[in-house]
Amino acid sequence: MFGYLKKFERVVVGALILMLALVAGYWIAKKTNRDAQNA
């Protein structure tokens, strides 16, 4: 599926997906923690 991407572009796409997942995970964890404290 990503055969048309060269090495640099694959690394960039992979890093962006990883960063997005980490940021989303961090945000969800922080919100869950805040909601638990407020409850």
């Binding site: 055969g3 048309y4 991407l5 060269k6 960039v12 962006l16 960063m19 997005l20 940021v23 945000w27």
Partner: protein, 234 residues
């Protein structure tokens, strides 16, 4: 397997399996539904966040509210915007190599003007970057001017030297996002949250992020204008 250096034809684009197309359609629909829900959830009347921003300006590290919002209070958004810009370039590069330039060699007048304006535009970009801390300006404006100078150079027949078209170009392209992400995560060592700059370092950190972002935005915009991946690239 198609030739990776050639431009893809329309037939090659349509060779995506139906299941993959269905998954893409479902994902895009989910994002659209989420956006529609978010927009419909917005209050009809809002007082805005001007007062909240004004109250926290002393903690932001800069004195201009727009820069404070973009680089500090709403850092998530700007961080991901840098990712979107880089992803747009990867999308363009995935289409194939940059078409060979058909621009004729510049005449004497255009060459003189280009040699005159390009350094001036770089100077203006530097000023806009520095001014962003206390006046309208900042990384995106400075990057746009830098990108425009790149477009001007490309239009007048200038070519990126082969020695710079490989990893030096790629490092410049990712520097903005990499520095931003490193600072965003690095401040967590001090016990702060992601993107929560310590007030005493905020000004310096914002300038560092904006300086790297300016170079990346300028290089990305000029590279987008090229319309494809530079030749002989890794």
């Amino acid at each position: 397997m198609h030739d990776k250096t050639a431009r893809l034809t329309t037939d090659e684009y349509t060779q995506v399996a139906p299941v993959v197309r269905l998954v893409i359609a479902l994902l895009v629909s989910a994002v659209a539904a989420g956006l529609a829900y978010a927009v419909s959830s917005l209050p009809l009347v809002t007082t805005g966040l001007q007062e909240a921003v004004a109250e926290q300006m002393a903690q932001s590290g800069v004195s201009h509210p727009v820069t404070a919002v973009l680089l500090n209070f709403r850092g998530y958004d700007t961080l991901l915007e840098m990712g979107v810009l880089l992803l747009a370039l990867v999308g363009v590069w995935s289409l194939g190599s940059a078409p060979s330039s058909r621009e004729p060699p510049p005449g004497a007048v255009l060459e003189f003007l280009t040699r005159f304006f390009a350094p001036l535009m770089i100077l203006i970009a530097g000023y806009l970057l520095w001014a962003g801390a206390h006046a309208p300006g900042g990384a995106f404006q400075a990057g746009a001017v830098l990108g425009a100078s790149g477009v001007l150079l490309l239009l007048s027949g200038w070519h990126l030297p082969a020695s710079l078209a490989g990893w030096p170009l790629r490092l410049t392209l990712v520097a903005g996002l990499a520095v931003f992400a490193a600072v965003a995560a690095g401040v967590m060592w001090t016990g702060a949250s992601l993107l929560e700059y310590p007030p005493q370092w905020a000004g310096g950190l914002i300038l560092l992020i904006e300086a790297a972002a300016t170079l990346s935005i300028g290089a990305t915009l000029a590279a987008l204008f090229l319309g494809g991946r530079p030749e002989d690239s890794p």
